[in-house]
Symmetry: C2
DNA sequence: CGAAGTCTTGAAGAGCTTCAATACGCGTGG
DNA sequence: CCACGCGTATTGAAGCTCTTCAAGACTTCG
């Protein structure tokens, strides 16, 4: 065997390809930029608040989440990552992490060093813009979460989250039939939505009783997507899934 | 008179200079990139949801805010802009606005066309990284707001917001003695913090009674900054105000 | 001076949290 | 194989934070 082994970056390519066309050389640059796949087990922290990582991490398979814990233990999850998402692309510029990242499920990841990223920004402006775009979509998602926690009811928020995740997973071809894997406890869900564990449970019961969503262990089964979108007031423009020159 | 008139971009230069050193040529590129100052009156919308602006807008003086309104009229403000902040730098890549931007006070602004920004990304990688950084700090601030709305009490959130704004204004030399101008109604404040108008009023009364913060018309007077920080659990690392090579 | 916007306070009620107890599911070791 | 323990889910009940409704006062401005 010779040449570089194919690295399973396909989810990233799918995500980027959602927003703009990629040239072959850009694909090659990306393929070459990433290190070998690494494995992580559920519950492990990928990065901790205060760290200054020397590279950024891409999720190949599995899910991770960003969170911040206040002094007294209250925790807020501020985003979820699926295959093709960078866990900490922002650390390339921000340097110091202002939050932690944990593995939600067993994950395989791949790293790019910040040196390599810097080289990309020097030589590949279009690719740079696309990476920048990744962080901007991240941003749009966090804003949408903020709107939800600030102004939507607990039930609406939950419905919205499920709509969002299903769509994002579909975009990287990790969706199943009428549902998807979501390896979270109800406590985790509460920390995403700014809810207590108990109320999270009640919201889920309500969605079940309305025959909108069912949880089968770690799997979410969406029974009535249109109904769920109606309840959530879901509108996908904030995901910016439009292919156009950038 | 000849040559380009000096444009009052100084707040942007101050902000960028907070994070990294700028070369003279970079300063010149920036100065040249922006159009002439324009004036806006309080209450006007700078940009509306669904717009596809052809340029990005920088605040020279005054304040603006991003917000989203749900179908039934509930509104959430997702960020505040002060001099030196871009209102919609993300529209350069995202193209379509997924929220609106309004003027909080009378403002003077200046625009850069997206064509110019694109040219910058082609020729000035370091400057590009700094612009990218601007959007990443934006992002960090929104995350912090999310943590607040999700996990902090109304009072803590209010205190946190005031701490944040005072620090940001100081960084661009727009701070007064022991306070600052903040031309918002209590309804606006509520929409920032995810609170009702009535409760916002009660939170302000509490802070006044505790002799932490006083409102004198449109001016916020901070009586006890350390006390406020303690109450808020304020930690400024998320603002990333550290000068280092990027 | 009247009108519109904003601030302030009271009172009732909704949504969500906290405390508490029970049940369930799964892996481990006796 | 069963007992035990631990993490997770579920439900009831009480209570607190914040919202909503309502009304009055104050401010600004034509």
């Amino acid at each position: 065997m010779h040449g570089t082994a194919r690295k399973p970056i396909d989810a990233l390519l799918l995500r980027l390809g959602q927003h703009d066309k990629l040239s072959d050389s850009e694909r090659q640059v990306l393929q070459a930029a990433f290190g070998p796949p690494e494995s992580l087990t559920r519950g492990q922290d990928l990065i901790s608040e205060g760290d200054e990582p020397e590279g950024s991490t891409l999720i190949l398979e599995g899910m991770s989440f960003r969170y911040r814990t206040l002094e007294d233990g209250r925790r807020q999850i501020v985003s979820l990552h699926i295959p093709g998402d960078f866990v900490d692309l922002h650390s390339f510029m921000l340097k110091r992490m202002d939050h932690s990242v944990g593995a939600l499920s067993d994950c395989t990841i791949s790293r790019v060093s910040h040196d390599t990223l810097r080289a990309v920004t020097e030589d590949y402006p279009h690719l740079t813009r696309l990476l920048w775009l990744m962080t901007l979509v991240d941003n749009a998602i966090v804003r949408e979460w903020l709107v939800g926690i600030g102004r939507r009811s607990a039930t609406e928020r939950m419905a919205h989250l499920i709509c969002e995740l299903q769509l994002r997973l579909r975009a990287v071809e990790r969706n199943g039939e009428n549902g998807f894997e979501l390896p979270v406890t109800q406590a985790d869900l509460g920390d995403m939505l700014g809810l207590s564990l108990v109320h999270t449970n009640r919201v889920l019961r309500y969605l079940r009783e309305q025959r909108l969503v069912l949880w089968e262990g770690q799997r979410v089964r969406v029974l009535d997507r249109p109904g769920l979108e109606r309840l959530a007031g879901f509108d996908d423009t904030y995901l910016h899934r439009v292919r156009r020159p950038r």
